[in-house]
Symmetry: C2
Subunit: 298 residues, 2 copies
């Protein structure tokens, strides 16, 4: 597997699921008062900037592995992409990472101004909960459990806690590095798989193997992210590379070196595949996403 080191074919990906998500996101207009039109434009600008839609695709692929139609979990899956987009917009702000380029385009605050970017992030977060709580269908218990999962995954013991650690901490030990990533990116990836399972009828007691698989996938995602920040192609990635090094961030590459980070990624991938084999149903699409996570170049 390439680990972003060599040009070659685009790794396989469940594109049908990706397109399903894309179509759903494109149709979202948030039914807004015309007086707030530009706020919605800013939200859609960042939301529709492309990308693999990994989190929603994971939710849909999990639902499919359980024999359900992916459409059945589409609003909740889309909500995960709204949450992810909100976190990127706020992360990119001048006061935080001060990034000007994202997916090959000016970041939200560069295009719309900092005030509107802050509110666009806030708006996406709120609208994500509307998708989870109002639009998504299913039993009240399942919808409640799904929204609760997303709330916990995005709070101080989740994504925001990880973002905070990333903002303030520049001297981490191994434990801190793992904790930061588990919170900042891992927790939402876990929530994606859990949402796909819960909305298709998985009971609380059945969730442990789904969580185990997803946690490993989150780790794999982050190791490869660190490698790509060092070795990736700026044009393919659509964002600046080498920023981690410039900001003296502790990453898997800075801590272990490039070769060791690649070995850790391969090990993590193998563990994720092993954990996947413990899940019931047809997990082919989840396997495809798992392999993509290792081989992706952007």
């Amino acid at each position: 597997m390439s680990l972003a080191s060599a040009p070659g074919d685009e790794p396989a990906y469940p594109v049908a699921l990706q397109h399903l998500v894309e179509g759903y996101l494109e149709a979202l207009d948030f039914g807004v008062d015309p007086r707030a039109r530009r706020l919605v434009e800013a939200m859609r600008y960042s939301l529709l900037a492309g990308g693999k839609r990994i989190r929603p695709v994971l939710a849909l692929a999990t639902a499919r592995s359980r024999g359900a139609h992916p459409e059945a979990v589409l609003p909740a899956a889309a909500a995960l992409e709204l949450v992810h987009t909100y976190s990127l917009i706020h992360d990119d702000l001048p006061a935080i990472d001060d990034d000007t380029l994202r997916r090959g385009r000016p970041t939200c605050h560069v295009a719309f101004g900092e005030d509107i970017a802050i509110l666009a992030g806030d708006g996406l977060f709120a609208e994500a909960f509307s998708l989870l709580l109002v639009t998504q269908q299913g039993s009240a218990e399942a919808r409640l459990a799904t929204a609760a999962e997303v709330a916990r995954a995005t709070g101080v013991r989740g994504m925001v806690g990880g973002q905070y650690m990333d903002v303030v901490g520049r001297a981490f030990d191994d434990d801190d590095l793992r904790a930061l990533h588990a919170l900042k990116t891992g927790r939402l990836i876990e929530a994606a798989v859990v949402c796909g399972a819960v909305l298709t009828g998985a009971a609380a007691a059945e969730l442990a193997p789904y969580r185990g698989f997803a946690v490993e996938l989150g780790l794999l995602f982050q190791i490869v992210d660190d490698i790509l920040d060092e070795t990736g192609d700026e044009e393919e990635l659509g964002k600046s590379v080498g920023k981690d090094r410039a900001q003296a961030k502790v990453t898997y590459v800075s801590r272990y070196g490039l070769e060791e980070a690649r070995r850790l990624a391969r090990e993590s991938h193998a563990r994720a595949r092993a954990r996947l084999s413990a899940l019931p149903g047809d997990t082919d699409e989840l396997a495809m996403v798992t392999d993509y996570m290792l081989r992706r170049r952007a």
Copy 2:
């Protein structure tokens, strides 16, 4: 009634309910990883800055009017204060209102830095949904309806939409002024009353009179807010006054003049009281909040 024009006794207020909320908020530590300690400090700094806790008190008073114990809706009520605090923190940011003083203390970004303030707001919003979805007890349907109400109240057709209109618009007509306030402050006040009713068993069909009362209360709140920005005492208010005028914002005072704004407030108060009389149960505490809204000086 004084309409902030004369010194005198503090108007009556359901302080027992206020203290119940205060105690609950003080006990919230968000069970955070010690590595994110300062993020939680920032959240608690803004959350525990005092104030009348109008939104949670409205939720508790509504529950009481329906014969329930206020404790039964306390997590959801507290969630409304987390949402309100999050909106204040983001509103105060340099890129938005650039306020340095709030409730007599430096604003969150002045005390903790802009990066942490942005994340503290994000964290409070997420934790509000955890309170609504995980901590709050009751039927799955009622908890789902409550969280959905808050999601809609805070989205682009609610609070964030209103904040956006406030940020970008400087030339409003009467319709726009009403729409801005209905979204920015009115919608969350409405959600507070609705949460108190829904969590104590009110069916969707019974909500119309509660909404009618709360919408009027939100209007009253805003008219008085505009009057206080013109006439209030900076020390009592704990924030700068005259900012609306300095920023050339359209307010009830700038549009109608002080005397006419006072008359509109008294009319709105009378309408709110009339609508309150249509609600079932013992509405004494709701009446007290309604009268306080007109008479408050801070």
